[in-house]
């Protein structure tokens, strides 16, 4: 009896999740004001960093076998993955402001399905963005010296980063239920990403930024990603462990946020 009830519960959670995912993706691809910026900004970052800073590849001590374009591609890939999650948190906050999410809370059989549904939205949005980014990078002449398994590992890491960004932002959105909390979602992620070795490897950073970057989990993501794209593995296990740890932590944050939203008048 308990097992049947648990199976039914899981079923209703997935039903809610699928409905939310379908509705949000439908809105996303039909609204150019949402769709276009989410595709254009990663490309602008990529063009600006890989194109504008390519001279940094010739700094004494800079060694990266796949070249500067691939070096920057990994940063933009990680950033786009996390921001796909963040922007889905924005959508959730917008839905709360418009009253839609409150109606959802009333109608959903299992409210965890709401959190899961938006997670599916984040993953789908990231899929579109990362595909386009990869295509543009390859057309721009990016070298990939890692093998197929390495690339699978790189995109697997990106998927985990989407979930990290989403779980953080959704936790904030459930608590504040307003888009006014947007800076609170965005600023910490932005800071963590830019306090990592974005432009040059960790060994070429000096002073306080070297100390901060050495303790920053985003450094592990970037080093692992760059290792995977070039086939020279570097901190891959650490990056996966950090990502899994952050997902677990932010999942608790998200679920307690959901409880908070349920309890709100």
């Amino acid at each position: 009896m308990t097992r049947i009830r648990a199976r039914r519960g899981r079923g209703s959670m997935w039903r809610v999740a699928r409905a939310i995912a379908w509705r949000n993706l439908h809105t996303y691809v039909r609204r150019p004001d949402l769709f276009v910026p989410s595709l254009v900004f990663p490309l602008v970052f990529f063009a600006s960093f890989a194109g504008g800073l390519s001279a940094l590849g010739s700094i004494p001590g800079f060694r990266f076998p796949a070249g500067y374009t691939a070096f920057q591609f990994v940063f933009v890939l990680c950033q786009s993955a996390m921001f796909s999650g963040l922007f889905t948190g924005f959508s959730l906050a917008f839905d709360f402001e418009g009253g839609f999410a409150r109606r959802l809370m009333l109608a959903a059989e299992d409210r965890r399905g709401i959190a899961l549904g938006y997670a599916l939205v984040a993953l789908s949005r990231a899929c579109i963005t990362l595909t386009l980014l990869t295509a543009v990078a390859l057309v721009a002449g990016m070298n990939v010296t890692g093998n197929g398994v390495d690339l699978f590992g790189l995109y697997g890491l990106a998927v985990l980063l989407v979930l990290v960004g989403y779980a953080w932002a959704a936790g904030v959105a459930f608590r504040f239920r307003s888009i006014q909390a947007g800076p609170l979602m965005q600023t910490p992620v932005f800071l963590i990403l830019f306090l990592a070795p974005v432009y040059v490897p960790l060994s070429l950073l000096q002073g306080w930024i070297h100390t901060v970057a050495s303790a920053n989990p985003a450094t592990a993501f970037l080093e692992a990603g760059r290792g995977l794209i070039s086939g020279v593995h570097d901190h891959t296990a650490l990056a996966y462990a950090c990502a899994a740890g952050l997902i677990a932590l932010f999942a608790l944050w998200l679920l307690s946020g959901l409880r908070n939203a349920e309890a709100s008048p």
Partner: protein
């Protein structure tokens, strides 16, 4: 200009300046984002000073110029959003119904923006010096920076007004910010143009007027008094202001006809 017009401009300029200064969410990005980006970029890109041909050993001196442009862009967003709010709330229509002349209606707001631009620029000069930048042009250079910052803020602020008058929506004005941020990214903001080795990027940065505005500010920190760089910087700021003011005049005419 008559005394009455000056009084009207003064009153509206004061209102515009106080409206920005009294709203922490408008002041916060002006102070926080340029400061944090300066800290991150100056540390992360310090290694770039080891490139042959890099014009200075201090990346802070090189990077501080970008803060002035970011500040000017925040002026655009704040001005446009404030004007759009006035339109949405009906305040602008009520102002238009008073005997106030057309010039002070927007002129007051823009004088306030220029004053805010001057204040911001003075703050960024202090921030740069505190972070270890070297102002090669000395105290006189600081005054020129403040003047250029005010002119750039006026130009960008007027663009924000055009967007607000045309759309009457604060959300639409906010949407302009990322678009203009692209201009900073595709310029000589992080490396001098001579060191932009990717062909297409070099071409885009050379055609991008923001590169010359940045180089105008930067020259005072790095080379002292460089007439060419300063002339180009002022020409871009003045050109932008002239074009944007023409846009404001056209948009204001349309808006008042609708009213």
């Amino acid at each position: 200009m008559s005394q009455a017009v000056l009084t009207e401009v003064g009153a509206l300029a004061r209102r515009a300046l106080l409206k920005t200064l009294r709203q922490p969410f408008q002041v916060f990005p002006i102070v926080f984002f340029p400061a944090i980006l300066l800290a991150v970029n100056a540390s992360g890109l310090k290694a770039a000073t080891r490139l042959p041909g890099f014009p200075t050993h201090s990346y802070v001196s090189f990077a501080i110029a970008v803060a002035f442009i970011q500040g000017a862009m925040f002026s655009m967003i704040n001005t446009g959003t404030n004007l759009a709010e006035d339109i949405e709330s009906g305040f602008f229509n009520r102002l238009a119904l008073t005997p106030l002349r057309r010039v002070p209606l927007i002129g007051g707001l823009l004088v306030g923006v220029a004053a805010m631009g001057a204040l911001q620029s003075a703050f960024y000069v202090a921030l740069g010096l505190a972070a270890g930048a070297n102002l090669e042009a000395g105290l006189g250079g600081a005054f020129v920076i403040v003047a250029l910052g005010a002119l750039a803020a006026l130009g960008f602020g007027a663009l924000g007004c055009v967007a607000a008058l045309r759309t009457g929506s604060g959300e639409a004005v906010q949407g302009l910010f990322p678009l203009f941020f692209v201009f900073i990214f595709l310029s000589s903001s992080n490396l001098p143009r001579e060191l932009l080795r990717t062909g297409w990027f070099h071409t885009v940065a050379t055609w991008n007027p923001i590169s010359y505005l940045i180089e105008g500010f930067r020259s005072l920190f790095i080379s002292g008094w460089d007439a060419t760089a300063l002339g180009r910087g002022f020409a871009v700021a003045a050109g932008l202001s002239a074009v944007a003011l023409l846009g404001v005049a056209g948009a204001l005419r349309t808006r008042l006809q609708r009213t």
